[in-house]
Amino acid sequence: MLHHLQIWLASARYSVTRTLMFRFDFFLWATVELVWMGVNLLLISVIYGHTDSIAGWSKYEMMLLVGTAMLIQRLLFGFFWSSLFDTARNIRSGHFDFFLAQPGNVMFMTTTRKLDLDSLVNTFVAAGVVIYAAVQLGLQPGPGDILLYLLMIGCGLLIHYSALVLTISLAFWITNAQGLEGSYFTLFEFSRLPRQAFKGAANVIFVWALPAVIVSNIPAHTLLHGFEPRYALWLFGATVAWFALACTVFNRGLRRYSSASS
């Protein structure tokens, strides 16, 4: 564990040095992400200009939900996205060999190699959105509530990470599924919707079968209405299940890997 932490810290130092070398890129990409976050908030603002409630959620409750979804998304992009995106490409090209020779767990080594500081900077903006919405709603969460919320954000991050690992693991079997991981963006859109808006088949698919909705809705619900054991258990159970599935599928895929011809 300590050994992997040391490796991760070395990678993080490298990422910071690299970012400092390309400062303009850092500012540009941080701005790009900031503007896109603004677009999501603008959509909420425009809709609430014409209605008071979306599936029973008021404007600031919705803002808190969207802020939570953005927080998880920024963390995913900051800690894992580049490495995961590269992993799929490396499997297809055969450059994945390099990671097999490294002194650590292959999945850890290949999916945690790069940090995107521009995304991590914007986690503060997303957190600011959540805090602003909470203040507008007059919420006064205690330290325990905040800790639980952060723990749930961690679960949401791990679920998204697991789902992405599953997606890129397809490259072990289907080498021409290029761009599939890019389509993962679509799933993020569901995270910004209130669970109560899903009805019928959409409820079964996106709330129960896929974890797209619960990752953001359960933390937001906890902050808004307090701790509910059944929701917490649902999220923690989903985290364990999705992470276990991701590890299993990735390791199965690893057995199939045969370098450039994989």
Binding site: T31, L42, L43, I47, H50
Partner: protein, 269 residues
């Protein structure tokens, strides 16, 4: 006249063939766009709960807007033309066009038209599959003038879409990497082009201001004509402004091309 057009016809045919190679990529993208449509449907259905209209339009009219918007994105939207142009400049592939009697803008535009023809026809497949679920939420106006004005608006919108992508591609003469600029611009284009929400839902002064910007004409305008969100007088006036923006962008493209070429260094073949 016709020999001049013949070479661009060939470029169009080559574009058609090379884009048919990527038919599965377009089909996959079309399939994932249906997920976006599901998100739109869930969000707007929830917003319409307890009220019959938003901004003067009912749920069916709003859903029709988003379905036609999706079709339009595949028929006239610039996908990755900016990156393709950027790559050709960076790799020196544009050198061949400097020595031949081929206009680079027209060559790329011919390929763009071919690509959109392929992607546009392919999006009809997932939409046809989704039609049984969608048909209750589709409400298209039946006035003939909408087709008469909507089709030229669509063609001019394609020209604006391509011209903006072309401008960003040409930025490679000055910057090594254009991806950040493109995605930043995409956010502005998406909002002011009505791709996130119908522009008429914005405060009135923002909507009126947007009508003087090119983004309004690159997507919202043709979609609004087809789906009945703007009347005939506004459509005719809009066509005039749209034509003005096309002319301005073409001049600006030519300016960027000639200035960019002064900085360009052709090495090797």
């Amino acid at each position: 006249m016709f020999p001049v057009l013949a070479k661009y016809r060939q470029a169009f045919l080559i574009g058609l063939q090379s884009n048919l190679v990527y038919r599965w990529n377009f089909a996959l993208r079309g399939f994932f766009s249906l997920f976006h449509l599901v998100v739109v449907f869930i969000l707007w259905s929830a917003a319409y709960e307890g009220q019959t209209t938003i901004g003067g339009f009912d749920l069916a009219q709003t859903m029709t807007y988003f379905v036609v918007l999706l079709m339009m994105q595949f028929f006239i939207g610039a996908f990755n033309e900016d990156y393709q142009i950027s790559e050709e400049i960076r790799n020196g592939l544009i050198n061949q066009f400097l020595l031949k009697p081929v206009n680079y803008f027209l060559y790329r535009f011919s390929i763009f038209l071919a690509a959109r023809l392929v992607s546009g026809l392919l999006i009809l497949i997932p939409l046809a599959v989704a039609y049984p679920f969608l048909h209750d939420y589709l409400s298209l106006p039946d006035e003939a003038w909408r087709l008469g004005l909507g089709l030229p608006a669509m063609l001019l919108a394609a020209l604006i879409q391509f011209s903006i992508a072309y401008c960003f591609g040409l930025l490679t003469f000055w910057f090594l990497e254009i991806q950040g600029f493109v995605i930043l611009s995409l956010a502005v284009e998406s909002v002011l082009g009505g791709q996130i929400f119908p522009l008429d839902l914005m405060p009135d002064w923002v909507f009126r201001l947007a009508q003087y910007l090119p983004f309004y004409y690159q997507m919202y305008f043709p979609v609004a004509i087809f789906t009945g969100r703007i009347d005939q007088a506004l459509a005719v006036q809009g066509l005039g402004i749209q034509l003005g923006w096309v002319a301005l962008l073409l001049v600006f493209n030519h300016f960027l091309w000639t200035r960019g070429l002064r900085r360009h260094t052709a090495v090797g073949g």
